[in-house]
Assembly symmetry: C2
Amino acid sequence: MDFTDRCTHTSLMNHILQAAGDDADLNGFGIKDLNIGNCSWVLSRMCTEFYRRPGQGEEIDVKTWVADVGKLMTTRNMIVFDGSGERIAVAVTQWAVINIDTRHAVDIRANVDYRGKTDDEPIPGDPPVRVPRIDSEPAATKKVQYSDIDFNRHMNAMKYIEWIIDNVPIDLIQADALKRIDINFLKEAVLGRQLSLHTIEDGIRRLCEIRAIESGDPLCRCALAFG
Amino acid sequence: MDFTDRCTHTSLMNHILQAAGDDADLNGFGIKDLNIGNCSWVLSRMCTEFYRRPGQGEEIDVKTWVADVGKLMTTRNMIVFDGSGERIAVAVTQWAVINIDTRHAVDIRANVDYRGKTDDEPIPGDPPVRVPRIDSEPAATKKVQYSDIDFNRHMNAMKYIEWIIDNVPIDLIQADALKRIDINFLKEAVLGRQLSLHTIEDGIRRLCEIRAIESGDPLCRCALAFG
């Protein structure tokens, strides 16, 4: 919960990704299944629309299904329902499969058996957009810390978003104005790496980019839409 | 989970405090009950001993009970069990009740009805110690951000600990050497406040202090014991 007594955006997105992982496990193509073939899932793009963030103790249900499977990218959709069956958030995610050693994308259909496991249900929101690169001075800097990293010692994807939202003016959060987040994940950040956050206003959107300071490489681009 | 595939110390402590809150609610003296009389709980000291941090998907049970009730301080104990009934962590916490407007401590026994709700079971570990003040240059600084704060716009107590553990040498975390944490909470930090973290080695303990940079006030003192 945040100070407005609503579930944070990042917490809700974490639940959405957890449901995706659980569903992939149930269908026999979770991370552990892919690991057997020395492959892994990589989240490439994600968008989430927030209609209402739930409060403390509220029960939510996450529905998720694989929508389509290309050679290099597959789409998984999610809808979050509250206890009365109302849609309170939707997400569209795009995933690649990589070889763990080469870190290169492999043919998804050659590595995952999707037979009978996709669904034609309409996409629940506009798909994630490509976020343009931006040029601006750093708005903030940080070092990748212990609490940021995953089992693979890379910064957790949702920690990028947490940092980005920490730098949104607090009155926009208080007014619950953040309605949509589009993210493009470009590169991973390892423990100890110094990062910079860049941000510009583009009409009603706020564009953000996280870079590795030493190399200058962009790691993540994000568009926040307010309403 | 952290990169070693164990539940983080702060996550386990969060579960412990959640269980405390749930138990107080069930007994009719939770935060909401106290709020009716314009009072609230304040965590003053906490110690936690970690015998084994659980892994992903493990079920844990938290047992908690009120051990004794003084005029200005009450003690609540916790034991964390794993699925086979083994103790994997214990905690001892000391709480005060404050008036929400004056922020001063009030007589606990005049505000909370404990009849029949305390337990004489032995304390599960050494009680939390008083951590001495320390003098050293800042090891790190940070600003209190949106993701740090609670419903009352104060930095969440466990966020102090998360920051402290982020500054422990990573090889000590990897070796799972952190076995006990004693914390003294002195003062709250509001959104936007600049904080400094000070730390010294004291034999096998690491002593830490978080200060508000502007006022110099100590906010939290902490002793980490390794083994």
